[in-house]
Amino acid sequence: MADELVQLLSPEGQRVEHPDYECSLDDTAILGLYRDMVIVRRICNEATALQRQGQLALWAPVQGQEAAQIGSGRALGPTDFVFPSYREHGVAWARGIPPADMLRIFRATETGGWDPQRYHYNLPTIVLGDQVPHAVGYAMGIQRDGAEEATMVFFGDGASSQGDVMESFVWAASFTAPVVFVLQNNQWAISEPTSLQTKIPLYRRADGFGFPGVRVDGNDVLAMYEVSRRALERAREGGGPTLIEAFTYRMGAHTTSDDPTRYRVDAEVEVWRHRDPIERVKALLAREHAVRSNTFEEVAAEAEAIAQALRADVLAMDAPPATDMFDDVYAEPHPWTEAGRAEVLAFAEEAR
């Protein structure tokens, strides 16, 4: 089996023919994806700056993976339910999560950030792979409700070694669950290369579980969109799960606490810089004269405005009241939790 990437747009911005997939998007839609990716990168850069300035506890940069996330995120239907890991800021943007809400967990003012039911977008999951069985279970609920919906769950090459991921593959296959697994292979799990997690291309793991796996150029937003759309349709129609391996690259550090110069060489990063997911769409739009002369400037200005608003929102984000830790631990009050609340309140009262 050839380990070929599904690609509809080359790194140079040339359209590529594929026997199984074709681009269904018009110029306006492609410009929309371009806009999304530019904004997501700008949000990410602003968040990195905020962390460097001591305003965030941590940030997990998404740079390089914008196409993998916008292509899949924009393929979702409004009631499909998404289960992210912790780097899916692009998918979060596609689901309409306000950028400031994405950063609450990183500013450490909250352990969540938004109402997952409102956006059909779960909270970030930091324990690797834990969200994957959640997506399968939710999909089993969809089946029982007889709904034409699907779930999409994101995890990485590192998490692909987790037992929960393997178990979820078994379940999704056995129950023909309407779930799309999006494995973003960004080549590095902090300092560990993908070769440590697997001896075969990751998409081929699906074979062993009895459902299709597809390797996609994760830096090609058109391919990511079409493959995701097809997989979601298949899931909604009762065809069962699909594994999409988005072959991409983490251009930045694992998080702002990481130092990638200790474990990877610049030459490798340079190779991937030439495969940038945003530049190739820009080249396509320019070559096909699909946009007005000042469109790119307008998009950049819009992204800048969003980043500035985000900065203001984050700086205004204060620590919650101390008693916030006691809220919602239980649906009904638990006496031990409430004893803690009473103690904190009494202590504060005494200190006044």
Binding site: Q117, V136, I142, H334
Partner: protein, 328 residues
């Protein structure tokens, strides 16, 4: 008043049947729970009556059993998970403490984690390794979970229904050595609340707190003690998180002596917490230091010697003697 006699295993079965009849969102999931009816037959006949969409035979992967139940809860289902044996819950430990316990908090209440994790626990059945453990303290230690354990068929029937209806996740510990004990079940009156402790036998000299399998052991000890002129008040804890401090304190304020009996080792255990809590609350009522009669700090032993490991009537009586000696 409709009462009927049945085993605890049957009572759990009937309780789940009622819950499933009442609420179409209630599902059961676990290994071998369908045609086989579970290795203890607790789910016997339920798949036949409710279908395999609602009584789900799970692939053999405990973490995914709990993990998918979390996903089902996010979709509005109430899944009753059966973990086949206590010793097999640890593969699911991460899902339970990292996800089940935290998602209501993290989502500010948007998610209702209304799932029940049924856990046949404790020993005394002559089983092989990993089939006789008492892991309840791990879960009691974790904020976000609730933990209960019935000791009678009546409580099993009602507490499983109340746990399923509860909007918080409940670890439901079933004393497997008592599955086949028969008892009266009142089908109309649930009696005490889900986390309330119950005085099973009133007494005046020593407050004996027990739960799960040890309630029966404590009651036998009370009978033997009575023959020797010592009056034990036996409390069935029922709720482990939270536990019912009021009922225990009211008793201890009368007796002045506290003995906690449990199958788990004593260190950092439910018994430790009861002793600490009641020492603080009832300090001036104590006539002796609170004692624990418990298992030993070893892995569960080969079951041919489990009767030494598990508290026996004799060891409970020895604890009573040690408490009474403080007066002399």
């Amino acid at each position: 008043m409709a009462t009927t006699t049945m085993t605890m295993a049957r009572a759990l079965n009937e309780g789940m049947r009622r819950a499933m009849e009442r609420d179409a969102k209630v599902l059961l999931m676990g290994e071998d729970i369908g045609k086989l009816g579970g290795v203890f037959r607790v789910t016997d006949g339920l798949q036949k009556d409710f279908g395999d969409d609602r009584v789900i035979d799970a692939p053999l992967a405990e973490s995914a059993i709990v993990g998918t139940a979390v996903g089902l809860a996010m979709r509005g289902y109430r899944t009753v998970v059966e973990i086949q044996f206590d010793g097999f819950v640890y593969p699911a430990f991460d899902q339970i403490v990292s996800q089940v316990a935290k998602l209501h908090k993290r989502s500010k209440g948007a998610y209702t984690m209304g799932l029940v994790i049924r856990l046949p626990y404790q020993g005394g059945i002559g089983a092989v390794e990993h089939h006789s453990e008492s892991p309840e303290a791990y879960f009691v230690h974790t904020a976000g979970l609730r933990v209960v354990t019935p000791s009678t068929p009546h409580d099993a029937y009602w507490m499983i229904q109340e746990s399923i209806a509860h909007d918080d996740p409940v670890i439901f510990c079933e004393p497997k050595s008592r599955y086949w004990d028969k008892g009266e079940v009142d089908l109309d009156d649930p009696g005490p609340g889900l986390f309330d402790a119950v005085v099973r036998r009133p007494g005046t000299d020593v407050t004996v707190v027990a739960y799960g399998s040890m309630v029966k052991t404590a009651l036998r000890a009370a009978e033997a003690a009575a023959a020797e002129g010592t009056s034990l008040e036996v409390i069935d804890l029922r709720g482990l998180s939270p536990f019912d401090t009021d009922v225990m304190a009211a008793s201890l304020e009368r007796t002045g002596r506290l003995l906690v009996v449990q199958e788990a080792p004593p260190y950092a255990s439910v018994g430790s917490e009861i002793v600490a809590t009641l020492s603080e609350r009832c300090f001036y009522s104590l006539r002796a230091p609170a004692l624990r009669v418990a298992a030993y700090y070893v892995p569960y032993p080969a079951s041919r010697i489990e009767d030494v490991y598990r508290p026996s009537v004799e060891r409970v009586l020895d604890g009573v003697d040690r408490l009474m000696e403080y007066d002399q």
